[in-house]
């Protein structure tokens, strides 16, 4: 019997970074007091009408052109009808038969190889509100702040073959939407949400197995775990002679398992039909071209350029292009560092990343500017300070003690390179350790390191280790 081959497709809901909602002027700001950011349109009051947000359309087209998709010149908003208290109108405005973006792909790097993942479609739709089940003693509260928030649902082809590969795709998409500045990518706040369609089949089979849809997975780690769990579950079902039921399952991260959602809520007939309150959305070539020319350099292209322009390895280039802000930071720093690309990369991936992690902030909140980091690298390269001393300077920079040169001067950290100065320190060290000096001279070579260390210590790390080596050797 052949092994099981997983077949995975992802549906990602990307919350668009518009100021106002998809069909109303209410703010989309996260975290406001319940029901303070819902106007009559969001509340589904009688007589009010939706008006499409142009900025959301532009963002959808941006994604479309970035994945090489076809932009539908005429797309249609439809009503998806169902009753739920957090769905004020009793229908969600979405796109059904005619989405704004059709067909495209995302190139991902997985296990050292590049692979194209097909994207079936992307469509605009409004989000629902939230039901709040705690704190209401047997009743439920409803917060409609989120109702009407613009979402772009991006549906992939079933091209993914493992949980890890699915995560690689999800990360690439996450990077892309942030590059395009159409989504903040905040998974905790629900700005980037993922449902996974998973099925398995015998390796070599052409026919797809029955799939299940896993909902509610809100981190990369959980996506991987949920899919892995589901693959395992399905293979156990099939191997024990059972059949996989097509159903929606919820991932429970506490138990690390997926469970079927209650059947009653599934038996929906959504009665989709074109929304008569909105005319078909018509886009012309001029608009599409204007979006195309406004596109920033895309993450994949930038990674490739980093590898060729800065001679970086794949891993480094990928790390540095993970967000537009980080890549911008790097390029600015390299410029100030007079082109020291590799050393700058090491500093960003090393000390800077550690400092950011420690403070739990991202690159945009870095307390060290790219220019300062570049200066630091430049001072290492021109010999003003050693790599070791540079760590001290970096810490001082982070705590805001001034510019690189100010810190070096104030703290007297300049590297000592003049032979006369080093000779003087050496004299003193020899004087303090006459016996050991005699032993070294007598051929006990392991003491060489001790004397270098003593000189460095006496200079508080400032002495140029190369000079120290050279001068010590000369005396022997």
């Amino acid at each position: 019997m052949n092994k099981w081959e997983p077949v995975i497709g992802l549906e990602v809901h990307v919350q668009l970074l518009t100021r106002s909602k998809l069909f109303s002027g209410a703010s989309t700001q996260y975290g406001a007091a319940p029901n303070t950011q819902a106007c009559a349109v969001d509340l589904g009051f009688p007589g009010v009408l939706p008006v499409l947000n142009q900025a959301a359309v532009r963002m959808a087209v941006k994604l479309g052109v970035a994945i090489g998709a076809e932009i539908n010149k005429r797309s249609i908003f439809a009503r998806k009808n169902y009753f739920y208290p957090d769905l004020p109108k009793g229908y969600q405005i979405s796109q059904y038969e005619h989405p704004i973006v059709k067909g495209g792909f995302l190139e991902i790097m997985f296990e050292g190889e590049s692979k194209r993942i097909g994207i079936t479609r992307a469509h605009l739709e409004e989000d629902a509100g939230k039901s709040v089940h705690e704190d209401f003693h047997g009743s439920s509260g409803i917060d409609l702040n989120r109702a009407g928030t613009p979402l772009l649902e991006i549906v992939s082809e079933p091209d993914l073959r493992s949980a890890k590969e699915a995560v690689a795709y999800l990360k690439a998409l996450h990077t892309l939407v942030r590059y395009l500045a159409i989504c903040d990518g905040n998974m905790q706040e629900g700005s980037f949400r993922c449902d996974a369609n998973v099925s398995i089949r015998r390796e070599g089979d052409k026919k797809l197995g029955t799939r299940t849809e896993i909902k509610n997975v809100n981190s990369f780690r959980f996506v991987e775990k949920a899919i892995d769990y589901e693959i395992k579950r399905q293979s156990e079902v099939l191997e024990s002679g059972g059949v996989v039921v097509q159903e929606t399952r919820l991932y429970d991260s506490d138990q690390n398992e997926t469970r079927p959602m209650r059947g009653k809520e599934e038996a929906h007939d959504y009665r989709y039909f074109p929304d008569p309150d909105l005319l078909p959305l018509e886009l012309d070539e001029v608009f599409i071209q204007s979006v195309k020319t406004s596109l920033p350099e895309l993450p994949g292209d930038r990674r490739k350029r980093f590898m060729s322009d800065y001679q970086l390895k794949f891993y480094d280039a990928e790390f540095l292009t993970e967000s537009r802000e980080l890549a911008d930071f790097y390029e600015k720093a390299v410029l100030t560092a007079k082109g020291e690309a590799k050393l700058t990369a090491n500093w960003i991936m090393g000390d800077l990343s550690a400092a950011l992690n420690k403070s739990n902030v991202d690159i945009t909140k870095s307390l060290v500017s790219p220019e300062a980091l570049g200066d630091l690298v430049a001072r290492i390269v021109d010999g003003t300070i050693s790599g070791k001393i540079a760590k001290t300077v970096f810490e001082a920079l982070w705590s805001g003690e001034g510019s690189v040169d100010e810190i070096i001067q104030k703290r007297n950290l300049k590297q000592v390179t003049e032979p006369s100065a080093i000779e003087a320190i050496l004299d003193k060290v020899i004087q303090d350790n006459p016996k050991l000096w005699q032993s070294l001279k007598g051929g006990e070579e392991k003491l060489f390191g001790f004397f270098v260390g003593q000189v460095m210590k006496a200079s508080r790390g400032r002495a140029d280790p190369e000079q120290v080596n050279k001068l010590l050797k000369k005396r022997l």
Partner: protein, 483 residues
């Protein structure tokens, strides 16, 4: 003063023959006397009316010269009025006060008109007799045992019985024109997209359109000057210039071509046919030419309408769930109980019937056979009219098959009720403008003639209507004030 047209009132106010306050008081008094019998109003905004009327007097005294400043108007109770109840004739909205006004309402406010009250209607504008109102039926002042038509029956009766000089209505399948015909008033349904739907509580979004109900075509033109125009809050409103609708009223009709659809006269009662033929010959005397036309797909209008309108209604009315506003069932056991009882107790039978039909035709497995097919036929109906307008300026026929029928006659038989809109429905499906004007009487009951024009040709309709009203005085006849 209550019998004057808007233009006459405007002139009288300018000439200080009486004040806005006196005028408003006169209409309020008429409402007090006549409304208990006729039931045309759901709410009367007496204090607000008196207050704004006094303010209008002050403004006029200061020299403001808006033509309609200080003249009263009444709105169909499906147009939202900020701070004043908007019930849609339904129990489910019996306590609903919108925190915003419909764009139409706002425009009349900006024109300085005084709101007298909100007029009765079939629940959510669904009906042709005004018997479907939670607030009871409206009576026809021409015969108290008869219906005034619907769904804008309250507005039509308020104008006919001179409780208001003019009113707004809404028309989804004939709801302005049919009651206008049955009450001897002038009712205009504008082109779909000409008047903003913002704040008009939706029944069937692709068909609904607000328009004026008045005593004369000239008055309708004055109201259209206020109502018409693009609104950024309504994506289906059309951004093209609005003409001065009074400008072409007096244009000669010589050489104009009137299309007569044979289908509108097939099976028409001879007494009704006689009235319509009299209108045609009046136009011929003015030099207009008559031409027979075919509208082959118009015979499917009623079935097409009763798929599309309920489909949209079933979705539009989903928001009345007792959660955020309006009627809520007492002590619900759970969510399902809250939904089902709120809607079962809050909606009347006709609304429920249409929600059921609409839900059915949109369901998977039935969508293609009903909704999609209906949309295709709707296209064909539209094309029929477009083809006709290549050779005619206007299409003319009866507004209704018969004069007003008796209260209770058709309410148990939905199909026969639906057929009373047989001549008006195609116009909504095509999105065209149409007008109904008084065309004389059959016995003691008034009847109307309907004229249909091409898109955005409301000015042509008003021109035809006004010319007819220059040579006839049907529109000046008033019902006797019996109790």
């Amino acid at each position: 003063m209550r019998d004057k047209t808007l233009l006459e009132l405007s002139r009288a106010l300018a000439a200080k023959e009486f004040s806005c306050l006196e005028l408003t008081q006169a209409y309020l008094k008429q409402i007090e006397t006549r409304n208990p019998i006729l039931n045309a109003f759901i709410s009367v905004t007496k204090e607000l009316a008196l207050e704004t009327a006094s303010a209008a007097d002050t403004r006029r005294a200061k020299g403001e010269a808006l033509p309609l400043l200080g003249i009263p108007i009444s709105h169909k109770d499906i147009l939202c009025t900020q701070g004043v109840k908007t019930t849609c004739g339904s129990k489910i909205l019996h306590n609903f006060i919108a925190p915003y006004s419909a764009t139409v309402v706002k425009r009349f406010e900006q024109a300085g008109m005084i709101l007298l009250g909100k007029t009765n209607l079939d629940e959510f504008a669904m009906g042709s007799s005004n018997e479907n109102s939670f607030y009871g039926p409206v009576k026809n002042p021409w015969d108290m045992e008869r219906v005034p038509g619907g769904s804008s029956g309250g507005s039509a009766v308020a104008v006919a019985a001179r409780m208001t000089p003019a009113a707004t209505g809404t028309d989804t399948g004939g709801s302005i024109r049919q009651p206008a015909a049955l009450t001897n008033t002038t009712g205009l349904k504008p082109t779909y997209g000409r008047v903003s739907r913002f704040g008009l509580v939706a029944f069937a979004s692709s068909l609904d359109q607000a328009g004026p109900i008045t005593a004369t075509a000239e008055d309708a033109a004055l109201l259209m000057n206020v109502m018409a125009g693009f609104d950024e809050k309504d994506s289906t409103s059309v951004d093209i210039p609005v003409p001065d609708y009074t400008q072409d009223l007096s244009k000669a009709l010589k050489g104009k071509v009137i299309g007569i659809p044979k289908i509108f006269f097939k099976d028409l009662e001879p007494t009704m046919a006689l009235r319509i033929e009299a209108v045609i010959s009046a136009y011929q005397k003015m030099g207009a030419v008559v031409k027979d036309i075919d509208l082959p797909n118009v015979s499917f209008s009623v079935p097409v309408y009763y798929v599309i309108a309920p489909a949209e209604c079933s979705s539009n009315l989903a928001r009345y769930d007792g959660v955020r506003f309006g009627y809520r069932a007492k002590a619900p056991k759970d969510l399902y109980d809250l939904y089902t009882r709120t809607r079962a107790e809050g909606f009347g039978p006709e609304v429920k019937r249409r929600i059921m039909i609409g839900t059915y035709v949109l369901s998977s497995g039935y969508y293609d056979a009903y909704y999609l097919k209906a949309q295709k036929v709707r296209q064909l109906i539209r094309q029929d009219f477009q083809k006709a307008f290549e050779t005619v300026d206007i299409i003319l026929g009866p507004t209704t098959p018969t004069p007003a029928f008796k209260l209770g006659d058709k309410i148990q038989d939905p199909i026969s009720m639906y057929l009373s809109d047989i001549y008006t429905i195609a116009v909504n499906l095509a999105g065209l403008p149409a007008i109904s004007i008084p065309a004389g009487f059959i016995g003691h009951l008034p009847v109307g003639v309907q004229m249909i024009a091409n898109y955005f040709k409301e000015d042509r309709l008003l021109n035809f209507a006004h010319q007819y009203q220059q040579v006839t005085d049907w529109h000046k006849k008033r019902p006797k004030e019996t109790s």
